[in-house]
């Protein structure tokens, strides 16, 4: 019983940290941000590097969950796993910084989800009696999944274009943050 309470407390902490992160970001995301608020965001990121670690772990977890869904057969899983290797090579995963790896993982997750939705569309909708409303809703889902995939690629382009190399220590709790620009 105590372990369940402890897990709930940790989840609430994570939610609180994420909320605080979003608030700080909102204050800074202006045309002329206040330097003090930028400094506060920097400080927050330094103190809460778990955000990056959590996002990094979350992506891997989401891919595993997607591949374990009942609609995915062995052929689909094998094809996806092979494609994931190609995608990682294409984006240079092995020699990317931790931030770039996080973004590439996001690209992979959104791509896998998009492929999964396409698979459901072909196996579930074709030749079956679905209302126009349902088909329309599903079409909107597919469109938003594709847009999400394109936004992830855009995020990688942004990070690589400006050449930011943020050093984050994912393995240990104590980390350093150096922003090095090309």
């Amino acid at each position: 019983m105590n372990e369940i309470v402890k897990t709930e407390v940790l989840d609430n902490d994570k939610e609180r940290i994420l909320q605080k992160f979003k608030e700080l970001f909102k204050n800074v995301a202006l045309d002329s941000p206040n330097p003090d608020q930028v400094e506060e965001l920097k400080q927050f990121i330094q103190e809460n590097q778990t955000i990056f670690r959590e996002t990094y772990n979350l992506a891997n977890m989401v891919v595993d969950n997607l591949l374990s869904l009942p609609e995915t057969n062995l052929t689909f899983k094998a094809a996806i796993k092979e494609s994931l290797k190609d995608i990682k090579n294409q984006y240079g995963y092995s020699y990317s910084s931790i931030i770039e790896k996080m973004v590439i993982d996001s690209i992979i997750v959104t791509w896998v989800r998009w492929q999964y939705l396409e698979l459901i569309f072909t196996t579930t909708f074709f030749g079956k009696d679905f209302s126009i409303q349902s088909r329309k809703q599903y079409d909107q889902l597919l469109t938003s999944a594709h847009k999400r995939y394109l936004r992830s690629i855009d995020a990688l382009v942004r990070i690589r274009k400006i050449g930011v190399n943020l050093q984050i220590n994912v393995a240990n709790n104590v980390g350093t943050q150096n922003v090095h620009q090309k």
């Binding site: 045309d31 930028v38 989401v62 996080m102 889902l141 930011v164």
Partner: protein, 101 residues
């Protein structure tokens, strides 16, 4: 779509909206109305199952959306603390124009 009692007998009607008016369409009595009633019930059940299934798929979307939003937030935060800001969809540094002059 319902069974309506008229005296001791039941009749099956389907309601349809035509413009501002709702009209009743007679489909059958206690014997002949059973087939259209079963078809309508089947359609309703299938519609509910489809709705439930779509809700499940959309729940799965939330997990992926959450992850994608977190990544985008992290990337944009890094850009902001690196001195960049977003102006009309483009990320740039405030003094870029001045440095070119």
């Amino acid at each position: 779509m319902a069974w309506e009692q008229r005296g001791k007998k039941k009749y099956y009607y389907r309601k349809k909206r035509i413009g501002n008016r709702v009209t009743s369409i007679y489909l059958g009595n206690e014997k002949s109305g059973k087939i259209p009633a079963a078809k309508d019930e089947n359609k309703r059940t299938t519609g509910e199952k489809q709705k439930d299934w779509l809700c499940e798929v959309m729940e799965g979307e939330k997990e992926v959306d959450k992850m994608a939003d977190q990544v985008e937030l992290a990337v944009n935060s890094i850009l902001l603390i690196s001195g960049y800001h977003c102006h009309k969809g483009q990320w740039r540094k405030p003094h870029e124009r001045n440095s070119q002059n």
